[in-house]
Symmetry: C2
Subunit: 115 residues, 2 copies
């Protein structure tokens, strides 16, 4: 499966008993989103990536586009807007960690940034 | 000076040699923005407040309005968008702490939330 396949996926509804991604799946999926880091915050793994912008309003425009995608996917990231920088973090609240949905959403975020 | 006076102010250009607010000024200004906390992160004081929303897109709408105000004031906060919650933090990067501008901007943020 190449990156194109990942962005062509949609997030599936995620239930509390859905599986976290396995180590094997992370090895397969993570190289498709190389700019992203897996951070463990409050014992919950999340995919996090910062994107650079020329100013605040260009950052805001990106926030709006990512939010619109999130709404379509019914999967919502934490987004931090600062002057010249937007940091997006994806994780699956119901399973307190990473689901394949998060890798799909991260790849779609990269595609939005790439324009 | 009442809260009305604070929201009627505009942020002045802030230079690296501008004064941090004094303890006396904090005692005068902080009661005008009671919902805000002064947090010290990385040795820098900031005003921070979380606002509740029914969903992600209502939070995004608030982010856009605060960003538009920030652009007018040429003073830009960190804004964290999550599902149902937006956290706004104001501080003055050039002086690594709180300037009167930050209290003005916080009061204006409250006014936007109040609609």
């Amino acid at each position: 499966m190449d990156k194109e396949d990942l962005t062509n996926n949609s997030c599936e509804a995620c239930h509390a008993d859905a599986p976290l991604v396995t180590e094997e799946e992370i090895k397969e999926l993570k190289p498709k989103i190389p700019a992203w880091q897996i951070l463990n915050i409050d014992s919950i793994d999340r995919l996090s990536c910062s994107f650079a912008f020329k100013n605040y309003m260009e950052g805001l425009s990106f926030v709006s586009k990512v939010a619109a995608m999130a709404e379509l996917e019914d999967h919502h990231p934490e987004i931090v807007l600062e002057w010249g920088k937007v940091t997006v973090s994806w994780w699956s609240h119901k399973i307190k960690g990473l689901h394949k949905n998060d890798f799909i959403a991260a790849a779609k975020t990269d595609a939005i940034y790439a324009g």
